[in-house]
């Protein structure tokens, strides 16, 4: 047991009283979701090895709530696409995204997933946002583990401030419709 002080997450704004704490539902739900994001590592190439380094003990991603890496899309919160996606692989990526349950977020890790990277060829998909909507882009070839952690932290900010009603809103439905989802 270490005796260093642990950093507790700051509680949301609210009214405290004797035995009760009143706050907004959005804030509580956002706090819970942000600190327990379970990733689905969709690791295809070199960025996958940097993800392995991020999950290992030196740059531990589990500190941020990603303790349980889920390979089943139905049980995962965020899809981390790491590595080059070729045109042959794109339908599979879409199937995996469709199988995820709401709320779901996507981080695109690495230059190949963000925009095709070095590989401007006939067989590589030039960015996964051609087939699925992306929330956070982490550039790098491959990005350092600290950058991947920064990407997850940015996503945590997004998740904390997201409205509970976002997934039913017309803007979100329009976004999904633009991808034919």
């Amino acid at each position: 047991m270490s005796d260093s002080k642990t950093n507790m997450v700051a509680p949301p704004e609210g009214v405290t009283g004797e035995g009760f704490f009143a706050t907004k539902l959005n804030d509580v739900v956002g706090l819970a979701r942000a600190n327990s994001l379970w990733p689905l590592p969709f690791a295809t190439s070199c960025c996958g090895i940097e993800f392995m380094a991020t999950m290992a003990s030196h740059y531990d991603l589990a500190r941020f709530g990603s303790e349980r890496v889920s390979f089943s899309p139905r049980q995962a919160d965020m899809l981390m696409v790491m590595g080059t996606i070729s045109k042959k692989m794109a339908p599979i990526l879409r199937q995996v995204y469709e199988q995820m349950a709401e709320p779901r977020w996507v981080i695109s890790v690495g230059a190949c997933a963000c925009s095709g990277g070095v590989f401007d060829t006939y067989s590589v998909l030039q960015g996964i946002d051609k087939v699925i909507p992306v929330d956070v882009y982490v550039p790098g070839c491959p990005p350092r583990p600290e950058q991947i952690v920064e990407g997850v932290m940015q996503l945590q900010e997004l998740v904390k401030n997201e409205s509970v009603r976002r997934r039913n809103s017309p803007e979100y439905k329009e976004l999904l419709a633009s991808y034919n989802l």
Binding site: K87, K88, G116, D120, T121, Y122, S123, Q126
Partner: protein, 173 residues
Amino acid sequence: MALETAYIQEKLTQKFGNKVLNFAMNRDIFSFEATPDAIHEVIRTLKVDEDLNFHFLTDLCGVHYPDNDSQHLFAVVYHLHNWVENVRVRVTTYLTDENLEVNSITDLFLCSNWMERETFDFYGINFIGHPQLKRILNMEEMVSFPMRKEFPMEDSGRTDKDDRFFGRTAQNL
């Protein structure tokens, strides 16, 4: 007895005459050319003969030479290796555009199966007698052969690239 390149040349010319030609020591690998109708027998001799004993197929690939004469447009290059005597040899066979096919060597070397599929995928060279000649790396619905020189490298459906930054003008597009 060390395997001398002169011995390889002599043995092959004795058996195949003028179907094997252009013997040369190309940097550090002894290479020669064989005609497409004889290539299967040449490789079988190289493998099966006790003195030659080239029992390992290192590599099989294709090359496209659009600037050559019509008899030498496509090439299939085989690299063979004899581990006991530590000798490598390179055999090339040239194909024409109309008759883009050659006998498959899957009955001699099991590892040539996928290497021939890759060559078919990239160049469209038909390997006669191959058990499963279909595309391996690209999508099966693809119709063109991407490694030929006339096929463009870049994704033609790309909309977000500004041609001015890449030196592409209406003249040289």
